[in-house]
Amino acid sequence: MRAQLKLVETSTPESIVAEDPAAVASGAAAKRSLLRFLTCGSVDDGKSTLLGRLLYETGAVFDDQLQTLERDSVRFGTTGDDMDYALLVDGLSAEREQGITIDVAYRYFSTAKRAFIAADTPGHEQYTRNMATGASTADVAIILVDARKGVLPQTRRHSYIVSMLGVRRVIVAVNKIDLVDYDESVFHRIEQEYRKLAGALEFLECHFVPVSARFGDNVVAVSDKTPWYGRAPLLALLENIEAAPQSDDAFRFPVQWVNRPHLDFRGFSGTIASGSIGVGDRIIALPRGRSSRVVRILGPSGDLDVATSGQSITLTLADEIDISRGDVIVAASAPTAPQRHVVARLLAMNEAQLAPGRNYVVRIGANLASARLVALHHQVDVHDYSEQPAAALPMNGIGLATLRFETDVVATSYRACQTLGALLLIDPHSNETVGLGIVEDDVGKAVDPTQMWTTRLATGLAEFGVLPADAGQSELAWLAASALVTTLIVLALSGSLAVSVMVGLADFVVRPVLRVLFRSTWAAASRRRAAVRETELTTDGGGI
C-alpha cells in the first residue's frame, strides 16, 4: 500500500502540489477566483473516489489524514488492497458503514489559479433533495457516467435537477474507463448519447472527459492510455471553465438588516443580488415603491463609489423613507412590479408532501411571507422529462405550481436573478424546510387555464372559505354525492322527480353557504373572546 502511494506522489506534477512561497507572499493567493462545483452520478459511479483523488493530488490531504485513511481502507474499504479514496470524503459513520454518501459534503482544494469548493452529493434517488442542495450554489456540475453502463435513468435525473437549479456548464466524466480497456468507441458512444439527452436541457457548455478515478487517468494529468482523447484533463477543465453569474444586469438589493447604530446613521445592509450600483444613482424601494438616491456605499473595507453583484454592502439614502428587512431596493430605471401570484417549479424535500390547499411560510430573498399552494399543474417525470397530472408532490418529487401570497412580494424569474427567484417553502407549524422553488419566467401569470374545471371550481370556492382548503376536488365530490343521496331519499318519499331534484340542488347550494355563515359568526365570536383576554393580560402586566 505504501509503495503505491509513493508512486502516485512522485507522478504528481510539482506545479500543482507545491506553490511557490514567493508567489504566496506577494499575494498571488489573494487574487485567485472561486469555482463552486458539484459531483453527481449514480450509485457506485465513483463520485467520492474522484473527489478523493482530486483532493489527494492537489495536496489537500495531509499525511495524518492518509494514515487514518489507510486504517479505514482496511476496515471499511471496497477496493481490496488499494486505498479507498471515497473514505476521504464519506464523513458520517452511517455512510462509512453502508459505503454510500447520504448527505452533501463540502470539500476544499486549490491550485495556483483557482480555489474550489466541491459539493459531493448522493446518487440515490431518495437523496435527490440533497443533490439539489449541492447544485443550488454550483457554477459547474461534474456528471459521472460509468463507462461500462453508459447513460442511465439516474444520469437523466441528475442532469434535469442540475439544469433546473441553474447550472449551465457541465463536465461529463466517463469514469472507470480502465474497465473498458480505454476504448475510444465506448467514450464516443456515451458522448453522443449524452448530447442527445442534453438537447432537452438548458446547458450552455458540455465537456466530456474519459477518466479513471481509481488510477488517476485524465484527472490531473493527461493519461498516456487515452492518446485518442487529446483534450484537457479534468482539473485543467475546472481551472479554465467560465464561472459567470447567472443573473441579468438589473440592480437588485434585498434589504437584509437595517443598520441604525445612532440617530445620525441609517443604513440598509445586504448582499447585491444582481447588477451594480453607484453613489448618486436613483433607486426605488419595493414593494412600497418610494424612491430616493444613494448617498453612500459602505463596503467591507470602507466607502465605495460603485458596488457590484455578490458584494455585501450597506447603503445610505438621501431621503428618510420607510424600508425594512425583506424589502428590495432596485434601480429606478428598472422597477419590478410586486405580485401576489408566483408560478414556480417546486421540489419536495420532506416526508410531508407538497399539496394544493396547504399554507406555507415562503422565503424569497430576505422576505418571509405566507402563501398558499393554490394549484399543482403537473409533476415532472425526471427520467423522461414528461409532465404528468398529480394531486401532490411526494418527497423528491418535482412539479410546477402556483403560489398565492397573502401580501405583495418582490420576486423575479430565477433566470433573471437567482436570489430573488429562489424560494424556500417552510412548514408554518414544524418549521421544517419542506421544499424549494424556482420561479418560472412567466412570473405573475395566473392559474394555468388548461387544468380541469373541477379543480378550478374547488380552488375558487376554497379561496372564499366555502370549501375547506385541503379538500378541493374531493370535498366537491362529497357535496355532489350527498346531494344526490338527498335527491334519492326525497324521490322515494315524495315520488315527485321535480321536487326531489329541487331539494337536491338546494342541498348542494345551501350547505356550503351555511358553512360560510357559521364559520364567520364563530370566528367573530372567538375574536371578541381573544380581545377580551388580551385586555385582561395587558392590565395584568402581560405576564412578563
Binding site: 489573494a30 477566483s33 422565503r363 424556500l424
Partner: protein, 300 residues
Amino acid sequence: MGRLTHLQALEAESIFVLREVAATCEKPVLLYSIGKDSAVLLHLAMKAFAPGKPPFPLLHVDTGWKFREMIAFRDLTAKRLGLDLIVHVNEEGVKAGVNPITSGSAVHTDVMKTQGLKQALDKYGFDAAFGGARRDEEKSRAKERIFSLRTPDHRWDPKAQRPEPWRTFNTRKRKGESFRVFPLSNWTEADVWDYIALENIPVVPLYFAKRRPVVERNGALIMRDDDRLPLLPGETPQMRMVRFRTLGCFPLTGAVESTAATLPEIIAEMRASRSSERQGRVIDHDGSSSMELKKQEGYF
C-alpha cells in the same frame, strides 16, 4: 460572484451570514475561542455592522487551562474593540477537580468545554451562537450546515439536518431551540492565514515561532506554560524553537518545531506542510468518528 476574488467572495458570504443572525435571532452571542479562526470571525463581525458595533457580546468558555498569552490577548482584544466579553467557567467542574492531566482529555473536554458551553448558553438565554468552525477541519464537519439547529438540550442530529440550498436560510426555530452558526464554513486553513495577512489582523503570538519551554510526551511537544504541568520522572523542559498551529488547553496542545516567525513564513510553511492542523489536538484521535460523537453531545 464571478468578478470577486475567492477571498472577497468568502468575506461577502460570511458577512451575509453574520447579518442574517443579527436580523433573525433574538439574542445571539459570538463564541470567542481566541484562536486564529475567532480572530477572523471577529474581524468580519466588526465589518458586517460598521459603522456600528456588532449587536452581540463575546463569550469565552474558559477551562482554566488556556495559555496565559491567550487570556492576555483575549482581554486586550475585547478592550481594543470596545466589546462586551463574558467569561464562563464551569464551576462545578472546577469544584470536582476536573483537569486535563489527571481526568484525561476526554473528561476534561466534556466537562469544561461541552458542559461549560451549555451552562453558559442556558444561563444567558442565547438563541444563536456563532462559532469559527470550518468544514475543512474534520470530516463530520464537512456535512454540517451553516445554520445548525440544536434541540433545547443542545443536541445535534446529523440525520435530521434541514436542507440548506443557496444562501436562503430557514432561520425559524421553536422556543428553546437554538442555532449554532458557522460563518467561516467555507474557509480553509490557508484562506484564514491569507486573509489574516491581507487584512493585518492581530493574532495570539503563540502562532509565531519562538524559543519556548517544552517537554516531549507521546510524540507531542507540550509547552510547560505554568508549573501545574507535572514533570514525569526524567523529564526536563527544553527551550526549543516552536510554534502552534491550533490553540487550546496547553497540556492538550502539541507545538510544532518551526522557525516561522512572520506571517509570510507561516503561510509558506503551511503550504509545504504534510500534516493537518488538528494533528496537534489530543482530543481528536480517539477514532475517526470521535468528533461526530462529541458534536452530537453538544461539543462545538
